[in-house]
Symmetry: C2
Subunit: 279 residues, 2 copies
Amino acid sequence: MADDRFSVPYDPRVYPAVAVTVDVVTLTIRDGTLCVLLVQRGTPPHEGAWALPGGFVREDEDLPAAAIRELTEETGRALGRLHLEQLATYGVPGRDPRMRIISVAHLAFAPDLPDPIAGTDAMDAAWVPVASLGLPNTTSAAPVPAGTAVPVSAGGPAPLLQRSGASHRLAFDHTRIIADGLGRARSKLEYTPLATRFAGPEFTISELRAIYETVWDDRLHPGNFHRKVLSVPGFVESTGYTTDRGGHRGGPRARLYRAGNARLLHPALLRPNREESGP
Amino acid sequence: MADDRFSVPYDPRVYPAVAVTVDVVTLTIRDGTLCVLLVQRGTPPHEGAWALPGGFVREDEDLPAAAIRELTEETGRALGRLHLEQLATYGVPGRDPRMRIISVAHLAFAPDLPDPIAGTDAMDAAWVPVASLGLPNTTSAAPVPAGTAVPVSAGGPAPLLQRSGASHRLAFDHTRIIADGLGRARSKLEYTPLATRFAGPEFTISELRAIYETVWDDRLHPGNFHRKVLSVPGFVESTGYTTDRGGHRGGPRARLYRAGNARLLHPALLRPNREESGP
DNA sequence: AAAATAGTGTCTCTCAGACAATATGTC
DNA sequence: GACATATTGTCTGAGAGACACTATTTT
């Protein structure tokens, strides 16, 4: 049987020097725009460049704990309740010029939050619209599908990028990591109720639809979406209340819901317009 | 606010000593049974216990490359064409008694292959039925749902576990990793054509159905499955040939197919009998 | 009053699953 | 010949998407 001889002499130094970090792709929706939390690096390498919050995993610290710690450390404030899951691990040699670094990326969904504050090791921190990052197409996410009529607040506030003067080139392979995180998020909205994590504790069906439309960058039929959401068991549950007023531009008051207890959506809400066939 | 106790100038040696390993969950189907490739450890810790093939990532070695190297090293032969993808990363402090070890687990799908050979650091290597591992329920995977009528070769060869005299207790947290891998595999069969990776280059629809039935541990309706598979664009394509003979117990010759060029199945083949609702 | 939005009803088409039927093999 | 399997056909019900319609509220 297995012997757990801890007494075995073991010398870590015979193994290659590597470091393990965590990086966190935190997504939220601000003013109808999907944004990711970035920090401006205050130390080399890539000093001054924008990057995902992250850093070295400490001894005796679990990976999710490290992710949460880095998030609060580098943005100067607790981000409240959020969904956090592991995304993937990136370890291509040379991805960090200092040494071999294996980065365990995480994905977080957060409701709309106030502007972050630069913390340790960060010169600045900001919510940056993912559309401004020029991500490679994950689904149909062209850099900025401008003509397609982006939902909500057209002509709203200028991209935060401009306020921060950030470059579109992110540090390390973080552009790729964000693209992967966005792909995962889009997929997860289909078969989990995680869209509710982008909303506050109570929300209307229209607000929920706006979340889907923003993340999927697509228009959804209001009526069908409404009926569909209510038909999936455990997706949302009624609070019994309604909003105080109608929408900005008219319309009746909407009923308020909170997240239900389902962990998976049955049946799923499938994305529309998947490209048909291949060569 | 953030404390600046860690704004240390960079020096790799000040960061915790960690090692990074890869582990590989390789699944195949032998005699109608879903099996995972395990090796018997020849070195402490857990010497003599069965574990996933894996080991330390070398300098300047990419993660997938390390996974493939460990696979061939520890099983003494190249496993030919197989599908390999990253599964998840496990890093709970204490999961390895030696030191802090972060393990990047991978998942591989292989067609039926000959018995493996023990290689470096391994006393033995074998295909082990996952049903014998007492995995926690991932979907409806009770340790061994004996009464449910397991497809194919009932009363076939005894489990390899008995031949090898292996314990059901795997080393480290490998039971959990295998459970996660199995869950991923079950899910991937729904929306990707990866089931074909368990088959040879040419296969019949019945053989494909047997793969689904084995991985999902469920019975599928032959007629409906047949029509469904052929209706999904790019899932399979006809070779124009048929088998040389009918089945063991009769029946006409079956047409042979090869894997198509689709990377996703539209529409997906959903698992039957998902448990309805929750409390 | 005009316009926008919430919520419901209806129709059609696709698809999953149950069941049946026929042809073609093996033992 | 008895029986198993491959393949196709038919029917039913669930669900997605297109459209239409009513009620309610804001400007």
